[in-house]
Point group: C2
Chain length 305, copies 2
């Protein structure tokens, strides 16, 4: 039973290009989002982990969203990463995204304190939903315990769904643990479950999942869209194999720096290489090795607009 509450499809967990002064390169961001939508993505998730969301201020994230919409990117293709460590800031960003017409928000749990109980996490999300107080809110839980230090277990998902069935629209499982994704899919049919790891996309769609919100569409939107459309047919084998090979190369780079390197190489835009500290680009040797390895697969980016 597919979800009727939320969205489905291929979402790019969008990279954030920067100018040399470490501010967001809005022009390049807009051009990239246009290209992603034209080349296969159903939508774009801004300021997740790949978008280095926690490195940007509330004000910067609001402004970037507004700039994209003003440039003509349809708001209903955009999902905003809104989870801050402080509840009022999460409320502010989430309210902003709803007011602007985003199709959803992708919300990290508060990520400083550790060993939190489900009661406290439930209360946090209940306060968030109530303070935003807008029936248009579609909230996607962002499960990435290796970075947030906080888990959305099945019991917590169940409580949130029971309390806010018209708001809690889905989850992005970036744990990399297929058995966890599978358990969510089996326990909550109709829930909008996304994977952050494209090689799981076919298995997820087979079990009624909603799609992928992942970094790889930043460079491979067309191949992954084809995979999303053809998953039930044998012809999807080639795209599945390519997606797996490509993500394994980039993931070893490490991943966000690797995606930036590939995009910089193919577009010639330096903005993809600039990261806000404490994050750093690949060093020259890693960069060259990755570009060479990706080149050897025969992969090229879809053409510019």
């Amino acid at each position: 039973m597919p979800s009727t509450l939320g969205v489905r499809g291929l979402f790019a967990a969008n990279l954030t290009p920067l100018l040399p002064d470490l501010s967001i390169d809005t022009e390049t961001l807009i051009a990239h989002c246009r290209w992603l939508l034209a080349r296969g993505c159903h939508g774009i998730a801004l300021f997740g982990t790949t978008g280095e969301g926690p490195s940007f201020s509330v004000a910067e994230k609001k402004a970037a969203l507004d700039d994209l919409i003003a440039a003509g990117i349809p708001a209903n293709t955009l999902m905003l990463g809104t989870g801050c460590s402080a509840l009022p800031e999460t409320v502010e960003l989430t309210s902003h995204a709803v007011a602007r017409g985003c199709c959803g928000v992708l919300t990290l749990p508060p990520f400083y304190f550790k060993r939190l109980g489900d009661d406290g996490l439930f209360r946090y999300f209940a306060e968030l939903v109530q303070r935003v107080g807008d029936e248009k809110l579609r909230l996607y839980l962002y499960h990435i315990p290796q970075l947030s230090g906080v888990s959305f277990g099945l019991g917590l998902i169940e409580r949130l769904l029971a309390a806010f069935p018209q708001v809690i629209a889905g989850i992005k499982d970036s744990s990399g643990d297929w058995s966890n994704t599978k358990a969510i899919l089996e326990n909550f049919p109709g829930f909008g479950t996304f994977t952050g790891w494209d090689p799981y996309l076919r298995d997820l769609l087979r079990l009624g999942g909603a799609g992928a919100i992942s970094g790889m569409p930043n460079i491979n939107p067309t191949g992954l869209r084809r995979l999303y459309e053809t998953w039930a047919q044998p012809e999807s084998d080639a795209d599945h194999r390519d997606a797996t090979r490509l993500i394994e190369l980039v993931d070893a780079a490490p991943p966000t720096a690797g995606l930036r390197a590939v995009l910089a190489h193919h577009t010639g835009r330096e903005s993809w290489l600039i990261r806000r500290p404490p994050l750093q680009p690949l060093d020259r040797e890693q960069h060259d090795a990755l570009i060479r390895a990706v080149g050897e697969t025969g992969f090229t980016l879809p053409p510019p607009l």
Copy 2:
């Protein structure tokens, strides 16, 4: 060689009282800070981990600091927790603290991304110092890897000290690992090294350390101040023993919820029991057990003003 750059002494890592709507109870906060300074603290560190800093917005932290100063709490007794996950917000809070005349800032590393290299962390703090751009800045590194997921190793401290000798004033070591504190004290004589664990205070002062920034002064400012003053004399044994016994009880509670329970019990102010989600107060059973256990030690808070 004692530090000439920064401050020394007993600093309370101040708890943050809340009203039922989860906003800061400014009146109680002001009264508590007055009491802490009158009862033994040299200073107060606002919005650290005990103060649940990451649960409050940049705007709330700035407003609370301003309210305390407006109420007559001397700015130069205040140290502000300024470390956010996004550099621009850390800059904003740090600049605010310097402009208001705080004696220092206690700065967490950015705490979302993990496995960061020293180069990226160095660049983060270098950008922070340069963007604040004020020679009055005194920056204390906040080492609490069990929550931040990020470490200030000796190599990174050395690089920061070499680059910004007039700014990097010290460190608060909340790792609970005495061998780490000792290594810092031995490698950087004159550096303002604070412990977050009072039972280490005597050993730290013996090796030239700067003092304690810890949660326990919230309930035991007088005993800990006496310990700070008499550490070199045998008469400090009783205060050291009491401090150790008390922190072990509260730390098992767990610590911040435990301190809140003791303070609520002794002051009758409910605001100490209210926490912002995802953090939760002790449940009734834990609360009663802690109050009973603390009572059995014979400990009582210093009198109200």
